[in-house]
Symmetry: C2
């Protein structure tokens, strides 16, 4: 057959296939649900690709590998946590230090207990030692810590001290909660958790003001 | 051949074979070293039986199963922890609350950092939900918490409050340490850990005295 006339240039392809963002969001939503209902080990690329009606290769193209997928799921969890924390911070703003800190600590506790598997996944997933965290994951982590630093804000003038205080107060509330959820000191007791959280926040806030 | 005369009764057998306690101690020592050098997953019955020059059946006879073996190893770690904690408690006895609590917190931190894998194993090993902890393990855990309650002792008169305070203070120090060792807030920084531990102990102690 005769050579065809020169074809017109194909219309420019979009930089990303239409729907990539939507597919990413869909996969993350499904993965989050799997973590919540079955725990982190149940998150597998093949299963998610099937549920998301895409090729495993497409999934890896979006997330890199299973570690990348899990980090993305954990980042979503951290973003979800940010919302009640920010709401608590706003609601308590202008109140005394103890009230402001307690609002955050109790919001954190409520989130952890209502989203136990997703919350545990954030703290139990480990990357290989030589791997670096994605920038957006580190940004989310920094954002959450900043929220606490801002909450402390006016009551600790020195920025470096405020950073230490934020890390210590977060570590304290988290430690009490994490031990409780894992039944480390005794069988899980939500009342005891709240009493312990209230104790440490009230004592630390009083001590911070005393020594300021 | 003629029936033999009635044999004398055999001498009574000891309730346990000679050396069972020694074998148990040997296996625990080797298992502790494997955890320290290679981590908990490397603890396997077959390997330990070979290293202990006994049958796998004998090992299971002593420990029940692998879970029982690991609980026993973890209990040894807790007993090892008890010694520097008790020494710190004695050394700081009679001093002010902050000094007494800081002595324990820093001794706990030092132990965790110097025995990282064995310490992590205590908090990362999980029994099936329906399984009960052995009595000796629960006793060791109670002993360590009592140590902290006694340290708080004179400064919180109410026993129930003292128990809450002990659990909260332990959770706080543990949480700061555990997050740091697992690089959760940032890359591991021993200086930052110590500053955060000092911050929470000083603030909480000051607040406890203020509110008493």
């Amino acid at each position: 057959m005769a050579r065809p006339a020169k074809l017109p240039d194909a219309p420019p392809q979009p930089a990303e296939p239409v729907g990539r963002d939507a597919l990413r969001a869909l996969i993350l939503e499904k993965a989050g649900r799997i973590v919540a209902e079955e725990g982190l080990p149940a998150v597998q690329a093949r299963r998610l690709a099937a549920e998301g009606n895409c090729a495993v290769g497409t999934l890896y193209n979006i997330f890199g590998d299973r570690d990348g997928l899990i980090l993305a799921v954990n980042r979503e969890t951290m973003a979800d946590l940010g919302r009640p924390l920010e709401a608590a911070r706003k609601a308590a703003a202008g109140g005394p230090l103890e009230t402001r800190l307690l609002a955050l600590a109790l919001a954190y506790t409520a989130f952890a207990l209502q989203n136990r598997n997703r919350w545990l996944a954030v703290f139990e997933f480990r990357l290989p030692d030589d791997a670096a965290l994605p920038a957006d994951f580190e940004a989310e982590r920094a954002r959450l810590l900043s929220l606490l630093e801002e909450t402390i804000g006016p009551d600790v003038a020195n920025a470096a001290q405020r950073r230490i205080a934020a890390r210590a107060l977060f570590g304290a509330a988290h430690g009490i909660l994490h031990l409780a959820v894992n039944n480390r000191l005794s069988d899980f007791d939500a009342g005891a958790v709240e009493r312990e959280i209230r104790f440490i926040v009230k004592a630390a806030a009083a001590g911070m003001l005393k020594r300021a």
